[in-house]
């Protein structure tokens, strides 16, 4: 989830506040697929289709709303991007309520509860964990090895260099946005049985995602992992020593602390202003 937001920011320097809603769309698509067509055994196909559908949704949104930012029509970029993506989030949320109703849908479990050694583990969490690893592995293979992956890295490192190489940057922005949303969609599909499917199911992951991104530093892919770890530690430490019920607050506290010291996050790169 935070990988998706960071990937988009790396390429286009835009924060997508509606990421949670793509997560939710992914969850809904997955739920419908399993209940209507696939059945629980082929859940992985569902995840793939959910990712695909959020890819096209993301690409479509990028084309009409975000692309004009890069053709110079829009001047105050950050303000525009923030307001538009927030409005988008509300739009999707309420559409979901309209279509799916405010109810909570529980997709059947992907796998029966198993346990590793003494640890009892619900099937879904296990699947979700494995699924995330697979997606991440695929994403990194794609980024490091394939042509398009390398081109994406290039775009985030030197936009002029990409232009001279004859790569159509604007097309890549659309694809990048699509991939970012697809990552969120896949996350939604994977965690559907864990977080259940309802209009606001995207909110919690968004909160988590943003915490990790800001701590890790905007635009840096390695930052995501270290931040995820440090967040986990901060929360467990806080829960153990201070008060377990304030678990969320430690995440935010850490976030504000880091922003105070390094206003660009641990690994973020400051943009030179003058």
């Amino acid at each position: 989830m935070s990988l998706g937001v960071n990937f988009i920011y790396g390429i286009m320097k835009v924060i997508n506040w509606a990421m949670g809603e793509f997560f939710m769309v992914g969850a809904y698509v997955q739920y419908l697929l399993i209940v209507l067509f696939l059945g629980v055994r082929y859940w992985y196909i569902g995840v793939f289709i959910a990712a695909l559908s959020t890819f096209f949704l993301g690409a479509f949104v990028q084309k009409i709303l975000i692309k004009p930012m890069f053709i110079g029509i829009i001047e105050e970029k950050t303000e525009y991007a923030t307001i538009v993506t927030i409005a988008l989030a509300i739009l999707f949320r309420n559409l979901a309520i309209l279509i799916g109703g405010p109810y909570i849908y529980t997709p059947p479990d992907y796998a029966p509860p198993t346990h590793i050694g003494p640890l009892p583990l619900s099937g879904n969490n296990f699947i979700a964990f494995i699924g995330t690893i697979v997606i991440l592995a695929f994403f990194f293979y794609f980024l490091k090895k394939t042509w398009i992956g390398k081109a994406f890295q290039a775009v985030s490192q030197n936009r002029t260099g990409v232009l001279t190489a004859g790569i159509d940057v604007l097309k890549f922005d659309t694809i990048a946005f699509g991939i970012g949303t697809a990552l969120a969609g896949a996350g939604g599909a994977l965690l559907a049985p864990v977080l259940l499917v309802y209009p606001l199911c995207g909110v919690i992951p968004t909160v988590r995602g943003f915490e990790i991104i800001v701590i890790g530093g905007l635009g840096s892919i390695p930052g995501v992992f270290i931040a995820g770890l440090s967040l986990g530690i901060a929360e467990s430490l806080g829960a153990a020593f201070i008060n377990p019920s304030f678990i969320d607050i430690y995440g935010f506290g850490l976030l504000m602390l880091i922003l105070l010291i390094k206003p660009y996050g641990l690994f973020g790169k400051p943009e030179r202003s003058v």
């Binding site: 042509w147 390398k150 990409v162 004859g166």
Partner: protein, 242 residues
């Protein structure tokens, strides 16, 4: 007159509306030659290259590449038509390896594996030093190496016309000499070069035809010999131009 590969006719352009960095500039780049352009900084040399390679659309005037009007084309289209551009500074990707940088330079024929292998081999012959360090990340290379990589990345597509902006900027004299020898070798392979440079001495050595651009207008033009004798006077005149 040798057929001109690139013609620029009465181009006026600038970044900010109302400020024209180039006013009514016309020039030709002869086939198979190195055409140099010198002039004090801020005269608009880099802006001209950006206009030719469609980073910037001109307010007026036309640009003809092999007789075809290209001023409203996209950089990616120009690349297909066989034009490459080495911009000022570094147009490479620091976190990628040398080889990846070169491969990305050949983005337009990435599907044609055979041609790709062959062109990569050619660039390595051209810049043997790059082959040794091809697996290293570009960020660890020195200035001279990076410049070679920038040029390598653009000539891998064997362009008909190569635009180069300030190749010697920020490099030690010894390496500067090597860079200009490479330019001569690129010319021998049949690529026409349009060289924009602050380094007047080096540009004179290497170019066949010269232009002097000052405050957005062509002040003088002519074959190299004409420029060579009284270059020092040209500079002093431009310093105290009466």
């Amino acid at each position: 007159m040798i057929s001109a590969m690139l013609k620029v006719e009465q181009v006026t352009s600038g970044y900010v509306e109302g400020i024209d960095i180039l006013t009514d500039v016309s020039l030709e780049i002869g086939d198979g030659m190195i055409t140099g352009m010198i002039g004090p900084n801020g005269a608009g040399k880099s802006t001209l290259l950006k206009v030719i390679f469609a980073f910037l659309n001109p307010r007026q005037g036309k640009i003809l590449f092999e007789g075809q009007e290209i001023q409203n084309y996209l950089p990616s289209q120009l690349k297909w038509m066989g034009m490459s551009y080495v911009p000022q500074g570094f147009s490479i990707f620091p976190q990628l390896t040398v080889e990846d940088n070169l491969l990305l330079g050949a983005w337009i024929f990435r599907r044609n594996k055979k041609l790709l292998e062959q062109r990569l081999k050619e660039v390595y012959e051209f810049f043997p030093l790059l082959r040794e360090r091809r697996k290293e990340k570009a960020t660890y290379l020195s200035g001279g190496f990076l410049r070679m990589l920038c040029i390598g990345k653009e000539i891998i597509t064997k362009p008909k016309l190569l635009l180069i902006d300030e190749p010697s900027e920020g490099l030690a004299p010894k390496i500067v000499k090597e860079i200009y020898n490479f330019l001569l070798k690129v010319k021998e392979q049949g690529t026409t070069i349009f060289l924009v440079d602050q380094n007047i001495m080096k540009a004179l050595e290497v170019s066949d035809y010269m232009y002097l651009l000052e405050m957005g207008q062509i002040k003088q033009r002519g074959p190299k010999e004409e420029f060579e004798e009284h270059i020092r006077e040209i500079i002093r005149d431009s310093l105290i131009s009466r």
